[in-house]
């Protein structure tokens, strides 16, 4: 059973500020999702390799070649605040 305190914990980790109504709503919705997984876990998977990716392809890689990417001027247009060549962020 997903409770309000679980929602509050997840919201805290995800840095989300939720209203009481939202907490109640998400608790209900998440609970039905988790119940569905409980249903799935009834299946016997003893001889089943865990699936790590829905696609069947593997080993997609690229060569170790540098592509020059100094596009700071372009980039800076999308940075809310800069100082020199740095991104400026609130102090931690």
């Amino acid at each position: 059973m997903i409770e309000i305190k679980d929602i509050e914990y997840i919201a805290k980790l995800a840095k989300l500020d939720l209203s009481d109504n939202e907490k109640a709503l998400y608790a209900k919705q998440l609970d039905s999702i988790v119940s569905h997984f409980k249903e799935l876990s009834k299946i016997d998977t003893t001889n089943c390799e865990p699936l790590s990716h829905p696609l069947t392809i593997t080993n997609v890689m690229r060569a170790d070649h540098v592509i020059d990417t100094d596009t700071f001027a372009e980039l800076a247009k999308n940075i809310p605040d800069t100082e020199g060549r740095f991104f400026k962020v609130p102090k931690i």
Binding site: H53, T58, R62, F87, K91
Partner: protein, 478 residues
């Protein structure tokens, strides 16, 4: 005083892999470039950008795994480690959770086996700069440079098999040494390409229980690792002696004070909610791929040490010092190929040569010394042309000038006098000069032999071959 407690230490090392580009994008990882000059949508975590694995990362990780005696996973995959921090642009770090690329290895320090639990791949975060100006203005902010974001790291996690700060230092030295030998990581601590965190706990001697462990971060040199661990062991001993409990927490080491202070306690510990990275497909590692990499591995330091001890009769300590330096080992090996007495060559290299290298912060390849210098110097020593003290001077000159050994010996006027007739002349002169002393000697004051010996060394400016000199001196005095 016998210690009541025993320390139990595990180390986590982040080794930066020696690639050209980042782990999931084609940005360069060259150190020291202008801020944010090596960034792209992938390593900045911009929406829609997709990571693609750098194949060299796979090669280097397997190489490291093999050198650390690890099993290599036939199937490996990436996972997201979720947390928020301004140096982490995506809000998660791509790492490996349940299928690390390497696992169950070990390395040997002082004949003791230290197990390596796992080694997994991950991307580095960016770098936060807390500018002094920010504080002056009173406006609280930080600056971020994402050049380092996406740099390939291999996190190597040891089992808690280390029992002292000194063992921890030795483990790190050996690990760094191996990674440098196989050319997987440059091991540069100042530039952050080899970083270490420690898990420290203590328990009563003889107990098998594991105590509550404390994680220590922010140690920037081998010396600070040793210091930080020693300080932490002492702190825990004092807490237990006072009847207090050790709290599970993360502590930061302060280089300036040599102390640690709390960064976060267990209650605040992160819950990373790992899940498989959907943007990257799994990687199968074929046996043939592993075998090919195995063929490229050089002989590892510990194997060389055993060889030097058993075949060349070096002491283990001498063999250790030689193999601590990759370039020096390479040089020593080429010298050995010239059929030079290994023990003498080793004495020359570890004495004057290594001292000079350390003092001038040079690698041996940066000096003008070559293998023939050592060969000639050793043969001059063996034929007693020069003394060992003289050889030291010659060696230093050879490193500086690159001139031939015979030329340097001439220039420095160091040729030993081994000729009996010449030496006899010196002795005859001396006897004429000190007739009284000779009489006293003959009357039984045999201590005066040392007096004659000293005067002779003075007269020959220390160049007399001591063995021949002694022989003729005895003949002349008696």
């Amino acid at each position: 005083m016998k210690n009541k407690y025993e320390a139990v230490i595990g180390l986590e090392v982040h080794a930066q892999l020696k690639t050209q580009t980042k782990i999931f994008c084609a940005c360069s990882i060259e150190f020291g470039k202008p801020p944010n000059s090596q960034v792209c949508p992938v390593c900045l975590g911009l929406p829609g950008a997709l990571p693609v694995l750098n194949q060299e990362v796979l090669v280097l990780a397997v190489k490291a795994g093999l050198a650390l005696n690890c099993a290599i996973a036939p199937l490996t995959k990436f996972d997201r480690k979720n947390y928020f921090y301004p140096d982490l642009p995506k809000g998660y770090q791509i790492s490996q959770f349940d299928k690390p690329i390497c696992h169950d290895g070990y390395l040997i320090i002082d004949q003791k086996k230290i197990n390596i639990k796992r080694a997994h791949l991950e991307e580095d975060a960016g770098k936060l700069v807390h500018s002094g100006a920010a504080r002056l203005h009173g406006s609280a902010y930080s600056l971020v440079d994402f050049n380092r974001s996406g740099t390939p790291l291999l996190e190597i996690v040891s089992d808690p098999d280390l029992n002292s700060a000194d063992e921890a230092r030795k483990y790190l030295t050996e690990l760094r040494n191996i990674l440098r030998y196989i050319d997987v990581c440059d091991g540069n601590l100042e530039e952050g390409s080899f970083r270490c965190d420690a898990n420290v706990s203590i328990r009563p001697v003889g107990s098998n229980m594991l105590g509550t462990r404390v994680e220590i971060k922010n140690m920037n040199s081998f010396k600070s690792v040793k210091n930080a661990i020693e300080t932490e062991i002492e702190r825990q001993e004092q807490e237990l002696d006072k009847g207090n409990k050790i709290v599970q927490e993360t502590r930061l080491y302060d280089e300036a004070t040599g102390d640690t202070h709390v960064m976060r306690s267990k209650e605040e510990a992160n819950d990373y909610r790992y899940f498989p990275e959907p943007d990257l497909v799994p990687i199968n590692i074929a046996v043939s791929f592993i075998e090919d990499i195995k063929k490229t591995l050089p002989v590892l330091p510990e194997v060389l040490r055993q060889k030097y001890v058993s075949e060349y009769q070096l002491t283990y300590d001498d063999a250790y010092v030689i193999t601590e330096d990759k370039e020096l080992t390479g040089f020593f090996e080429t010298v050995l190929k010239l059929n030079v007495n290994p023990k003498t060559a080793c004495n020359l290299l570890l004495g004057p040569c290594l001292g000079y290298l350390k003092e001038n912060k040079l690698a041996i390849v940066q000096t003008k010394l070559n293998d023939n210098h050592i060969k000639d110097l050793v043969s001059n020593l063996e034929s007693a042309q020069i003394s060992f003290t003289g050889a030291k001077q010659v060696l230093l000159k050879a490193m500086e000038t690159g001139n031939s050994i015979s030329q340097i010996i001439n220039d420095l006027g160091l040729v030993q006098i081994s000729d009996e007739v010449t030496l006899k002349k010196f002795i005859d002169e001396l006897i004429l000069k000190y007739p009284n002393q000779l009489q006293e000697y003959k009357a039984g004051k045999t201590k005066l032999r040392g007096f004659f010996q000293g005067e002779l060394m003075k007269a020959t400016k220390g160049k007399a071959n001591p063995q021949i000199l002694n022989k003729i001196l005895d003949e002349s005095l008696n």
